[in-house]
Symmetry: C2
Subunit: 365 residues, 2 copies
Amino acid sequence: MHKVLHELKVDLGDRSYPITIGQGLLGVIDLTPWVAGQQVMIVTNNTVGPLYLEKARASFPGKTVDVVVLPDGEKYKDWQTLNLIFDALLENRHTRKTTLVALGGGVVGDMAGFAAASYQRGVPFIQIPTTLLSQVDSSVGGKTGINHPLGKNMVGAFHQPQAVLIDTDSLQTLPAREVSAGLAEVIKYGLIRDDAFLLWLEAEMDKLVGLQPEALAEAIFRSCQCKADVVALDEREGGIRAILNLGHTFGHAIETFAGYGSWLHGEAVGTGMMMAADLSVREGFISSADFRRTAALIKRAGLPAFAPASMKEADFLNLMAVDKKNVDGQLRLVLLRALGDAFVTDEAKPEHLRQTLGAFLPEAG
Amino acid sequence: MHKVLHELKVDLGDRSYPITIGQGLLGVIDLTPWVAGQQVMIVTNNTVGPLYLEKARASFPGKTVDVVVLPDGEKYKDWQTLNLIFDALLENRHTRKTTLVALGGGVVGDMAGFAAASYQRGVPFIQIPTTLLSQVDSSVGGKTGINHPLGKNMVGAFHQPQAVLIDTDSLQTLPAREVSAGLAEVIKYGLIRDDAFLLWLEAEMDKLVGLQPEALAEAIFRSCQCKADVVALDEREGGIRAILNLGHTFGHAIETFAGYGSWLHGEAVGTGMMMAADLSVREGFISSADFRRTAALIKRAGLPAFAPASMKEADFLNLMAVDKKNVDGQLRLVLLRALGDAFVTDEAKPEHLRQTLGAFLPEAG
């Protein structure tokens, strides 16, 4: 039995594409309408591959399907692993009419997407995100890339997929920690732009943590729709799109300090959003009660409330300075004017910033 | 004394940019109007850097100028060397408003351009090509990228510069072999689209080989104009732009066989164009006299007339099959319908192709 629960179109002119969300879709939905040539290269990892590769193959009837299996983990989001994709493409003589397919979480999506952006200067790709985080985050926006030892996502490209297929069945096997990491981004959409969605999340959080399929599909749909609205307004991230980075400047500092992969991206964003909400109180935008609502929802999603053990104020300040959200040296942050209304500022007072950092350092716990 | 001899605009809508050609321009022309932020990263190599780096710095008054010096040579057009650029950008905390500057030949341009295309998912760059080949080839088209052990330019991006500055003074120190390699591409423009330019080249070839500045500037201008006309018709290389690959499918096979860097790109293209002209005779498009005119001009430019020692027919056939000009397995070649009129075909007869390969294998000499 399969059931399409939601469909939406990401509207980007001649690079528009559909997102199909439902249960039992993988291997049932025919994806060949989005494959221009005869060749398909599925990029997956050694965790997701054994679970879903054969189903994914069945979505490309009549095509020549090759596969490259990457090691699983954020720490492999690097040149060496990216090159495994190029090796596989060239060894199997894939031409510039090949189509890449990302089957896995955000790391697989970012790497397969960047490989597609740069193989022979650009070939099409299809996303089949299998984690909640990648379903609500990587499905929309066209961001692809890899990490550098000195910073996350420092090398990459904007490259839009031909189509995205989201099968909620793939979440039933997802570790609880990764569900929580995905819920961080879901909560983010409520916080930055949609107070009605925030109320819905407060009401339905237990169902989401309990992996109820209809609730999950609804949360994914509303998250993708929110992100699509923002991205359509600002595809290349010159303006409003920056609000999607709520919690990310703090979060990237946490991830970099902890070492890629030891904190999940969504976990770092969860803590980072609490920090952004805390700073928004100190800057006089939201109330302490708003902060407590925000922190309570993030904690109910199972996310950490403090920075990693042994992280210091100076670590935050150093690592935030190389974050790519900075323009010509100014520290830019996303704050909340109200719950459901984020904005970008480079005017946060340094003493408020330091108070916020102090409140979330591990010894503060 | 400096003298602007030619200016042209590459017309690509909101990605249009100017090319300025003349003598004594480097360090005199102010390039800061094309720098949006405060930071500049000059990418050069250890041959060009000692000759022109200080002049190049002087073209960016008032900006913070950092430099990364790469090892010189096609064999360094790889991931490892590309990463030196990212290392320098991150170590010097360059933001997404930095501007990269390519100071050098085609390898530096391709790598600095790809670094600009992918650093933080894309930053602006300026080209200062210092070899004849890069002045007439890389200045127009937006192609950037690196090599893979299994094929040239297999990983890259389309990324247009903000501006191109061509100073013919930089050709006075260029080795004769590299002048010849550049003349191969100059001749190409005459062959594919401009029989009047071909006549001009037959008249002026001795001046070009003798490095007369006005003749060089004229040849560069007409070459860039020809390429700009073709690229403006077909920016992403779906159609007519493929004629720019005259001689390149044969040439890439030669370069790959010889090992990157042992034959210059232009040398391989020179031999490749003779092979394309030869095949065009066998296919019944041009006369033997046309072939002899073509071959004579290419030889006068100082280019090799045979494939590398020990290269076999099978080497060509294997290496041409992975060339990126192939679509879904069909061997596509650029041939001449007449001198000054190239076209793309996948219908060359296999026996004619083998005769052409045989005529240019080293033992044929």
